[in-house]
Symmetry: C2
Subunit: 388 residues, 2 copies
């Protein structure tokens, strides 16, 4: 049975870490698994390479930037492969191209269009442990591409799907998915299981463990994920189609800061806020519109160059900064008026003004002043995720 | 007209150096040349990557080592390409594989078996400056390989030959080829021109400017080379089939230290010294044999692990260490008894004992105690390269 393990940059930050990861890989292989490993660049390597590029050019050609950044994963996969060999197991490292990760040609943010893991399968058949460079692929034009944020997770899930793997383990320095950020909520609990859909809502609205994009691929292809600590071999959170039989009101509460609202009023208001979204090149967190005005919310962390975008927008649009949001995620919550009311009441009781609200079937988000986000996370967590 | 420029690691050691190299490249392009650039890894990058591999394994799998080391050139070529773009010229970086550098599958010391620079030619046709990763290729099996010592020079010359380039410029922190090492011989002069054959003799016997292997390819393919300082746009030494019309006795004098002699006596003596050469995995500098004994000389700098090889040889062979050699290179010198006698007399007058002598048509080498090499270089340079 094939399994895919993905190790993030902090798990391979130095030689001792690489050696520990090698032992973890070998342990799975010794249990009879066919192991495919997807690895990120060591520690801060990608940031350092990016920094060097920025010293040369404020906006380096993206093709060249991809050529540069992919060095990070090539180095870490080769070193990890050596470390596995040193433990007496046969290993081989493969680039994105060699692994058959075919992408479109949008450099620095390419999308996987096909995975042809023929070489990976061949090497597994030979009994080898296969170490694949995360975050990178090859375009149909034969150019080296990178997948953008969370790219290594995406590589791992796409490979797991193409190989019909038993599951895909996303290993990091985090134990699993929690009901709330443990740094904010003392009572936060690790979840044993969660559905893909719930995880996508959590990831889109502030949870950092997994990237929404990779979970979306897992949902579409039916791949089961484990979010697990590199330091442990079991436990963690299982993310699959079913999730956990729900006897709680919500699976988690997440907070987001550094949000911004752009508002247009009068005629063509919706056109103008959509134009703003295109300028910022980010998906909207929430769009609200009526005949007279339209509101668009997005997260500044995803906006490449906010100051210049703000400058271009502020003559025509009303811009509100310093805002945050708290989201409660649970099946059916967004359509359950009793729970929505309860959420509003919790905020009111905590003395936190809510400037907007948005819902999806699995989620309600309350927008408030940035400085009140943590307090609202704690209050909503208590109300929805903790048993009285 | 196509030209190939090769820049060594010290020429691209940091961002300002890369920017200076970019200006030098653009200057050639502005003169109407089609410019192909071959670049080494930045500064000490290769050594650092190698060091990291050694922390993981005393003898890492060579395929993985090649995967690791090739990151160095990928990073430098991408950064150099960005720096050229920043100057307003179109540039594209290509890996060894993308440049069509096809090698055999001997990892860490692959030999180029074919160059198919189709992509390079396409990009040149589009008016682009092409930046190629030195030192690397792709085996006919599709694996990433490296070319061993002097590999980037080899890439440059092989590409120049395949592209029928006007010439190939080898740029480094050295001005050109000198009649002697300027750190040893005050009167050393830079040569304006030298033949491929003469350069091969100099490089094989101690000159550091160019690797013999790349000059051999240049000779075979008729490529003219320039050894030139990166800091200068003209001058340097031209290395071609003709060399310079000789009105001097010799083009140069080189010294070598850290040589070793292995000697076998009695029956099968020649077999035993050849076996020793195979064990050391290096070409002989000189082999001397008669019915009763055989001597083999080689340079320790080229031997991967001399202590263990010595241990395996010393029970059966007489080993002499601490020896050096001084070579005088000039057309016809090795067959000119008058000049050979003069060389011996110079050594005798300097009070230096000669333990062996070897000749080729273009060279005479005198073997002496290591500590006397510099003195003998100076004496022979005065006798053969300086006008009275």
């Amino acid at each position: 049975m094939i399994i895919v393990q993905k190790y993030g940059g902090s798990s391979v930050a130095d030689v001792p870490s690489i050696q520990r990861v090698a032992q973890r890989i070998v342990a799975a292989h010794d249990e009879g698994k066919q192991v495919v490993v997807v690895v990120s660049a060591m520690g801060k390597t990608t940031d350092q390479l990016l920094q060097r590029a920025k010293e040369i050019s404020a906006s380096p050609p993206r093709r060249e930037l991809d050529m540069l950044l992919t060095c990070g994963e090539r180095a870490s996969m080769a070193l990890l492969s050596m470390a596995v060999s040193e433990l007496g197991h046969e290993a081989i490292s493969l680039t994105g191209s060699q692994s058959g990760i075919i992408t479109n040609d949008r450099h620095s943010g390419a999308r996987i269009i096909e995975v042809r893991p023929i070489r990976v399968q061949d090497e597994l058949e030979r009994g080898r442990i296969v170490i694949v460079a995360g975050f990178q692929g090859v375009s149909y034009k034969g150019e080296v591409t990178t997948l953008g944020r969370g790219g290594s997770d995406t590589t791992a899930v796409a490979l797991a799907a193409a190989l019909s793997a038993e599951y895909c383990e996303i290993c990091s320095d985090v134990d699993g998915v929690y009901t709330g950020d443990p740094r904010v909520v003392d009572a936060a609990q690790m979840l044993e299981a969660i559905s893909h859909d719930q995880m996508i809502e959590l990831a889109t609205h502030g949870a950092k463990v997994l990237h929404a994009g990779c979970v979306e691929i897992a949902r579409r292809t039916g791949v089961a994920l484990y979010a697990r600590a590199t330091a442990r071999r079991a436990g963690g959170t299982r993310i699959d189609l079913a999730g956990l039989a729900a006897d709680v009101d919500a699976v988690g509460v997440t907070g987001q800061k550094q949000l911004v609202r752009v508002r247009a009023e009068g005629e063509h208001c919706i056109d103008r806020v959509l134009e703003a979204a295109v300028a910022a090149a980010v998906p909207a967190l929430h769009l609200d519109t009526d005949m007279e005005s339209a509101d668009l919310w997005f997260g500044l962390a995803d906006v490449p160059d906010w100051p210049s975008i703000r400058a271009s927008l502020q003559s025509r649009l009303d811009i509100l900064e310093g805002v945050g949001a708290v989201s409660v995620v649970g099946d059916g919550i967004g359509g359950d008026t009793v729970k929505l009311q309860r959420a509003r009441r919790v905020a009111a009781e905590a003395g936190i003004e809510i400037v907007a609200m948005s819902t999806s079937p699995l989620r309600v988000s309350l927008f408030c002043e940035e400085s009140r986000v943590d307090a609202l996370v704690r209050a909503l967590h208590r109300a929805f995720c903790e048993r009285p």
